[in-house]
């Protein structure tokens, strides 16, 4: 379900961006550039949501009126949707007529001509997300410890995406972007601390009859 929905969303995004590429003015049009920025923000926010919801599931935390399975399913769909928007982000940059981007720089870290280190962080984050999602898709056929180790890569994945957004995003200087990055990072940091400190709470809760 999550994969199918995300694949459909990804195809819709690519179709929309490709259409914009041919509709926009080849010299002054900014539709693909704007789409790349919007898709980058969307992918980051979905990755943030998946990270936060994953910690919430681990802590057995759920908002009032919701079940833990609903939180779990939102965690899953936000993770797969993040990959869809990530693909759209890279696709929009590749087909943009002005930005010198290539498929290679989008897939192989540190090969971009524009801010290679900062863009490379994003490519690394992208591959970590792929590892996390593929390992989850194959979770039924692997040992729990292996899946868990792979799933913990979600944290460096989020941090690399955050660093990529701050250092290579052209909107970082704007106040809304800074507030978004600060608030999201603070949320993950706070929940990460709760996850580490509150490990005993979960263990104790699992012992309850």
């Amino acid at each position: 379900m999550s994969w199918k929905l995300s694949a459909f969303a990804g195809l819709a995004l690519i179709a929309g961006i490709a259409t914009a590429r041919f509709v926009q003015d080849p010299h002054t049009g900014t539709a693909t550039w704007d789409a790349a920025r919007a898709a980058g923000f969307a992918a980051y926010l979905l990755l943030w949501a998946s990270t936060v919801l994953g910690i919430a599931v681990h802590m057995r935390f759920r908002p009032a009126g919701t079940s833990l399975t609903q939180v779990l399913e939102l965690h899953r769909i936000s993770g797969t949707l993040a990959l869809s928007f990530l693909v759209a982000h890279v696709f929009a940059l590749i087909i943009d007529p002005v930005v010198p981007s290539s498929l290679l720089s989008g897939l192989v870290p540190f090969t971009s001509t524009y801010r290679p280190i900062q863009v490379g962080l994003g490519a690394l984050s992208e591959w970590l997300l792929v590892v996390v999602l593929v390992s989850t898709a194959l979770a039924g056929s692997m040992r729990y410890a292996t899946w868990r180790a792979a799933h913990l890569l979600a944290f460096p994945c989020y941090l690399l995406a955050l660093a990529h957004g701050i250092t290579s995003g052209t909107d970082t200087g704007s106040t809304p972007s800074l507030l978004l990055y600060a608030a999201s990072a603070a949320t993950v940091a706070a929940m990460g601390v709760v996850r580490i400190v509150g490990r005993g709470w979960v263990d104790a809760a699992e012992l309850q009859p």
């Binding site: 379900m1 929905l5 900014t30 539709a31 919007a38 969307a42 926010l45 609903q70 949707l81």
Partner: protein
Amino acid sequence: MTGSKRGFSRERHGPLKLAASLVALIGFGGCWVAFGHGLHGRAAAEAASTSLADSAPAEVPSTTASPREPYQTPTAALPSATPVHSFKTYPRPRVTRGS
């Protein structure tokens, strides 16, 4: 997380996931439209202005000590005091539309 909850099998709450996907797509669309209507970041505007300034041929290089001294082409031994930007170092020249 227990073993039975791992992976993408036994997924439930389809309508919830569909709603989440629609919210994400609508949010992306709104953000795209907003960017298209001139909500460009300051850095993008700076990059645009820098690139546009680079393309202006009438500018006098700041390395010229005085108007009477001729401008010398920067060399490895005597590089220019101002960094030379190009389209390779900045994403693209953007001319904001109506903003």
